[in-house]
């Protein structure tokens, strides 16, 4: 049943550029970006039980990595940009994680928030290096060496780049699926459920949290890179704590207790936000109201709602 849904969704996504208006297709690109980022984020949150309020930091590193590499260092290969930005995020994550995984719950949240804002402050203030509040331009990358110069920006984004990102999402999702179902993933779940007992069973809790953190940073950076190429700009607001909050929002909206929840959450959030922004200038209010509904009434998110409906349908 699940497989059918997945295949159907993939087919729809594959067909989209051919049937839908470019406007809608360009909306799907941020959805891809956030879907990838959230796959990583939820490894840390849903699977390991650590709520970070600073993961936008790694999304921003991905974005600025793409910007610096393309605008300032002339690197145009998307593969190289992805790899280098991802590694940069992992490198940055090492000290952050080493310092943060000693703590849990609210202290972890506050510490990660502080790190995120530290980076934001750095991006904002040191305008000689980072372009300050305007940020840095991101130039179009080449995909597998092909620059697609004949295509204009939109055609590139809704064409080759779209398919590339879709394939990237599928590949990274499969990788994450395997990670989550591996012995490593089982240990993470044990750590989430009862860290003390896990220790008594010989599980090195801090070390595993660290690894999960590093993987999540990599995924978030990949997402950030895609975001930045889509908009053509890397700006400091990507690192602001409210952006981290949105990552959590999306994850919980989709359903943090499920593998596919965050993916659904990313798409749902992007479309929701877009529709709301078009309908009213007070879209933040309605987004907040939706979050309240989710938290109070539907904590398992859209996936939870779907599962509940499915059970009801099967019983009837």
């Amino acid at each position: 049943m699940k497989l059918a849904f997945i295949v159907a969704t993939l087919l729809v996504l594959l067909a989209l550029p051919s049937v839908a208006q470019p406007y809608y297709v360009t909306l799907v690109l941020p959805a891809f970006a956030y879907a990838i980022a959230l796959l990583g984020f939820n490894l840390l949150f849903g699977y390991t039980g650590l709520l970070s309020f600073g993961h936008a930091l790694f999304v921003a590193i991905g974005a600025y990595g793409a910007a610096v590499l393309s605008s300032k260092l002339g690197v145009r290969s998307f593969e190289l940009v992805l790899l280098l930005s991802g590694l940069a995020a992992v490198a940055a994550a090492v000290p952050v994680a080493l310092l943060s995984v000693r703590y849990v719950r609210i202290f972890f949240g506050i510490l990660t928030l502080a790190f995120g804002m530290l980076f934001h402050s750095f991006l904002f203030k040191f305008y000689d290096l980072t372009g300050g509040d305007t940020g840095i331009r991101v130039l179009r990358p080449s995909l597998f060496g092909n620059g697609y110069e004949a295509l204009d920006k939109t055609a590139f984004l809704v064409g080759p780049f779209y398919y590339y990102c879709l394939a990237l999402l599928v590949a990274l999702a499969i990788a994450m699926w395997r990670i989550v179902h591996s012995p490593f993933g089982l240990h993470l779940a044990a750590i989430r459920e009862n860290p003390r007992k896990a220790e008594y069973l010989g599980v090195r809790v801090r070390f595993f949290r660290l690894i999960a953190f590093l993987i999540s940073a990599f995924y978030c950076a990949v997402g950030g890179t895609i975001l930045a190429i889509n908009t053509g700009q890397a700006d400091p607001e990507l690192a602001y704590w409210t952006h981290s909050g949105e990552l959590v929002f999306m994850t919980v909206l989709g359903g943090f207790a499920s593998f596919f929840g965050p993916l659904i959450g990313a798409f749902a959030f992007i479309f929701l936000k877009s529709e709301l922004m078009g309908a009213t200038q007070y879209w933040r209010f309605w987004l907040g109201a939706i979050l309240v509904l989710i938290v109070v009434l539907f904590p398992r998110g859209l996936v939870g709602i779907g599962q509940a409906l499915w059970t009801k349908v099967r019983r009837a």
Partner: protein
């Protein structure tokens, strides 16, 4: 008989309060040693020192000849000692199979395999099934731990400690919260399983003197941080002073039976 685990003159103070005072004991292969004593006698502190959780303020604690003062639970488990708690510790959302698997995987040292599929590992599943069967949990392998009865959760807690294939296992009131009819059954299962699993020694902390009398090879009684007695059951229960100090007034049945 070389000691498997031993303390020499271990003391532990918290400021002015002396929790343990010069405790020396040793446990050798094949023994089941019970630690008994009234509340506040220092049992928990002793257990924490024996399991490397607390450093003694004086004295040495050794496991297989090596100093284990304060090494912490993770390294302790790796060296071959497991501990099951008095208050049930489980992984609520994990199934029985998964809970046991965590221990098995951790013990094989292959925890960092990121891309292997845990469910498909036949050797792992066999071992998990084996451990579950010892404790009668085979039927519940796919149930989430939080849905088990209190007694079953206790068994799961002990089972996962067993799955580490430890050489020494420390059981902290393993039958508390279990109905008295089941207690002996559980103890027999555990001792039997320990034998089969290659566990070399068991340390038992218990309040139930029936169990202590029945299954211990030796009993260590603590009062006010000191060792009051360290004897096999027969000698232990035939001394009315010891019984009075440790047990209070429940002299009748034990004096007859032992």
């Amino acid at each position: 008989m070389t000691a498997l685990i031993a303390t020499e003159g271990v003391s532990r103070s918290y400021g002015a309060f002396v929790a343990l005072d010069g405790v020396s004991l040793s446990i050798a292969e094949g023994e089941l040693v019970s630690i008994v004593g009234p509340n506040g006698a220092g049992k928990t502190t002793l257990v924490n020192v024996l399991t490397g959780l607390l450093e003694p303020t004086a004295g040495v604690v050794r496991f297989k000849g090596e100093d284990i003062a304060g090494i912490g639970p993770v390294r302790l488990a790796r060296r071959g000692m497991a501990r099951a708690f008095q208050l049930v510790h489980i992984f609520p959302a994990l199934t029985v199979a998964e809970s046991i698997a965590v221990a098995v995987i951790s013990q094989t040292g292959r925890s960092l395999r990121l891309f292997a599929c845990a469910k498909k590992d036949a050797a792992l599943r066999a071992r998990v099934r084996e451990v579950a069967a010892i404790f009668g949990l085979e039927a519940k392998l796919d149930s989430e731990a939080r849905l088990l009865s209190q007694g079953e959760k206790k068994l799961l807690d002990i089972a996962s400690a067993f799955a580490l294939s430890p050489e020494v296992i420390l059981l902290d009131e393993p039958t508390s919260g279990v109905s008295s009819g089941d207690k002996h059954g559980i103890m027999r299962n555990v001792i039997d399983a320990a034998g089969r699993a290659g566990v070399k020694a068991i340390i038992l902390v218990e309040h139930d003197m029936d169990l202590v009398a029945e299954y211990s090879s030796r009993i260590v009684a603590l009062t006010a941080g000191k060792v009051l007695a360290d004897r096999p059951p027969a000698a232990f229960f035939s001394d009315p002073e010891i019984i009075a100090a440790v047990v209070g007034k429940r002299v009748g049945k034990l004096a007859q039976g032992a």
